[in-house]
Point group: C2
Chain length 369, copies 2
Amino acid sequence: MFDRLAGCGATPGGGVERQCATAADGAARDVFEAALKSAGAETRTDVIGNQFGVFRLAGCEDAPLVMIGSHLDSQPKGGRFDGALGVAAAVCVGEALSATDDAGVTLAEALNAIGRHGTDRPPSLPACYLELHVEQGVSLETAGATIGVVTRNWGATKFDVVFQGEQAHTGPCPMPLRRDALLAASYLIVDARAIADRWPGVVHTSVGRLVVSPNSANVVPSETQLSLEIRSNDDGVLAQASALADQAIAKAAARANVTVAAVTRTERAIRTLPASVCDLVEDCSAAAGCKSLRLDTVAGHDAISLLGHCPTGLVFVPSVGGVAHNEGELTSKADVEAGFRVCLEAASRLCRSGGSPERALRLAREVAA
Amino acid sequence: MFDRLAGCGATPGGGVERQCATAADGAARDVFEAALKSAGAETRTDVIGNQFGVFRLAGCEDAPLVMIGSHLDSQPKGGRFDGALGVAAAVCVGEALSATDDAGVTLAEALNAIGRHGTDRPPSLPACYLELHVEQGVSLETAGATIGVVTRNWGATKFDVVFQGEQAHTGPCPMPLRRDALLAASYLIVDARAIADRWPGVVHTSVGRLVVSPNSANVVPSETQLSLEIRSNDDGVLAQASALADQAIAKAAARANVTVAAVTRTERAIRTLPASVCDLVEDCSAAAGCKSLRLDTVAGHDAISLLGHCPTGLVFVPSVGGVAHNEGELTSKADVEAGFRVCLEAASRLCRSGGSPERALRLAREVAA
């Protein structure tokens, strides 16, 4: 099934191009649904395109639900492991139905175009959620461990910034009169990198997206829209770095003689995952004969998004060289199999314990003792 | 006719959106052709879409040709005066037929789509070329003059630069390992501005166009393509500033740990326009009762592109506030009429002098004397 998914939107570079609600994503969703059906699951697609497969293992309708999942969509020219590895259910990581892409297409329109704008209600809130994902870093590889037990996520402040200047001719317009929105964006991007360099290893910053208008060689840009991220594993440092980013936005606008037309700021707190699920995964890893390592996740994952709703667990397997969001992403077959064995064991214990990670952990320890 | 052209691609902001070979450009070309035909001209469209109207005023086929022209296409959300004001023939300013836009569409394909991919041979080389254009600066307004007699153009070095980095996850990828092509572009944009600031009023620099790949908020950009311009009215300074730009490109790549995948460098020399045509325009301006001013053009114009082929003259009329490449561009009706009167008089004298500006000038002076 992994190989069939990797074939959906496969790129010549060995990766996948399967952004949400594109034709390639639709193909992967078809593969996923067919696999669920052939495995005997009841399938559901909800109003924002989430797909669920419900396996009824208990004899009653109101049994606690254990959910396992990850994402099917990819980065542009992304890797084939990222998300697809943990696939069992598509969990909401997207935006509201009113969100549009750069071409103004809403998610609802894009989902309709691939026939995945469903009407089903999602299943009930799970008693526990498990996710298998590739590490996207080098900690496991460095430690020689096969299984990562994620105990905490890095916090993040994400800024969407719009600078507004004024179109002018790049020739005759005197330099002091120019109101160059791209120059403002550039000042900010340079300053954002300097913020990371103040706290090596503790703060990560990036601007991954920048849209320039009108984007013509001999027109001074009148508008830029960019997405800036500040990430840290330290609450105090994250607050300081985010405040510096706020200042850098204002300073960049002032230096380039433009205005800050809009700033939206989204924060993701540093949070710890439930100790009971971590302990359970660690136990299952030991039972499978795998060396495990407790570690942070810098990236957000579905298991982090669901933290406020139910106990969640996040299991990492090694990424060769830490390569991520890149077609060259790779995880060895042996590591993939180890990750699946650990997840299978943890899910199996959870299902035999009414979905309670504490009970699943106790049960296993009793068996062991 | 000017108002009808302004209606082609008219924007709510009072400007026009009429980029080359779009539907709006096609509409303007139709207006232009219809106007030529109704005025009795023989019309031609050549293989790269240039349109010509030939008025046969002499009795013979091989009479010297006087050409008057400018451009019909506009900047994105540009002004309605820019180019359209001087329209009489579309003169080649474009790229080869193999050039493509950002969407990979060739000029030939785009011209075919609007039915303007002609096969006619252009008319013979003109004996003289005249162009009426808006100043796009404030020199005339400041001097209280109505007619600008352009004697020289600023030189320019134009760079198209491609930085190549490596896609990575903006979260876990350690900062020292990132190869961020957008960061490199930002260093260069900031340095390019600093180059202009070293020679105030003598050097203009801008990056008007920047394309980021893959342009996703949580992916470190792997490629940026940008267009950088350096302009100056001093040959020595232009050479120094261009050399600094070369260094800034290399330095930006090194700082961001990326490679310079491509640099193309196009140079436009500082050149003077023929004194005879300048004198003729000045004479005609005086005859029309207009105050004139000799000045440079910072922007390139068709009359500059044709300099190597025949004597050319470039006549400016004032731009209110110097606003250019912007929907708010404006030239007063009285100034437009003055510009037309001067051009009409100059063209009329040229036509009576076999197309020779020297003879046209002598003729007028003899009449005056």
